[in-house]
Symmetry: C2
Subunit: 212 residues, 2 copies
């Protein structure tokens, strides 16, 4: 199994702009990537990062590919049934654990997908040479249809952890509640903490964390 | 195992007010309840609905208890280690499947929780007589702490399906993409459909569905 982790190195996580500066977004995206890579390594697979720009990552194979996500991923999927299967794991799955990833990587289907919120595809395994991804729009349903068109068996991996990609301010709560690695540590360094003041828990930022 | 399904029969799903009328919210809440009950029945467990008001449900045991959720649930948890374990499954887990529920119901922990978004507790199993729930605020972390205080072993069930409670308009997308029962059928009757127009998939309502 080859495990590919696409990473948008330039201007990552723009939808976190309301709560994080550009430098903070970069640092946080990098912390999530580190957590994902460590979880993959603990499943005894060696990840390859496919980054839109050069990236300094110790001990990890990095390939630069500045094409859009769909093209960059499709170029790396198996083309014959003799080729090794390929897993694609998004770099913002900050809650990923070795156990959750193992359920994906050990799935039997020709195509196995861990869906994300909003109809997305957060992680997948491709064992069928006819399958290609299309990440535009509601990719989960599109991918199920593409698998069907090429007669590939389709499996869904039911995981809260793999289903939680971190895109928006509201997603930071999940990182603080369920994350265990560098990503929650980075948020706490930035002054974020959980607040259950009004009955629902939220990630709030203590503006002057250093002076408190 | 006793399986309890709390149901707010009066004014359910108020946070869906921006997109559904009061009658529609009632019908949709009831459709989700039906889906949850059917999924539980398929795991070969008999659910009991604990409803805030009388409810006409064929073939299902209904108890009326108009106390707040925490009190109503705590009154039904085991008080001695000889009592049968109790599962509590929320009535708005519209994506619940027998497989996902089986992973919860067969968990080994003294307390097993399927977390929901925002630090919530969507479903749990209690086998320890000292454990009590507290649904206020970020209940997942509170429940982990309470389990720790009474020396109960704690297990997390990693499920996207059980993690998807349906509270807000944005949650309807999950029902249309991943739901298979009466809940997505009800939304489609109301004129909802998936729209991937701007690149992200959304649940949109065709205002005059009947005239199209």
């Amino acid at each position: 199994m080859r495990v590919v982790v696409p990473f948008a190195a330039d201007a990552p996580k723009t939808r976190l702009e309301p709560v994080l500066s550009a430098d903070e977004r970069s640092a946080f995206a990098r912390a999530m990537l580190d957590d994902v890579l460590e979880a993959i390594a603990e499943t005894a697979h060696e990840p390859t990062v496919v980054s839109t720009a050069p990236l300094d990552l110790e001990g990890v194979d990095v390939t630069v590919d500045d094409r859009p996500l769909t093209a960059a991923v499709n170029d790396r999927l198996p083309r014959t049934s003799h080729e090794t299967p390929v897993a694609v794991v998004m770099a913002d799955l900050a809650l990923a654990t070795p156990d959750a990833l193992a359920r994906l990587l050990e799935a039997d289907g020709d195509v196995a997908i861990a869906p994300g919120r909003g109809g997305g595809t957060n992680a997948l395994v491709v064992r069928h040479p006819g399958f290609r991804v299309d990440y535009h729009g509601g990719s989960f349903l599109d991918h199920r249809e593409i698998a069907d068109e090429v007669d590939a068996s389709f499996e869904t991996i039911d995981s809260f952890r793999l289903g939680s990609d971190v895109d928006e301010p509201a997603d930071l709560v999940e990182v603080l509640v369920h994350g265990t690695g560098r990503a929650p540590a980075t948020l706490r360094e930035f002054g974020f903490e959980l607040d259950a003041g009004d009955g629902r828990v939220a990630a709030v930022r203590i503006e002057n964390a250093a002076s408190n």
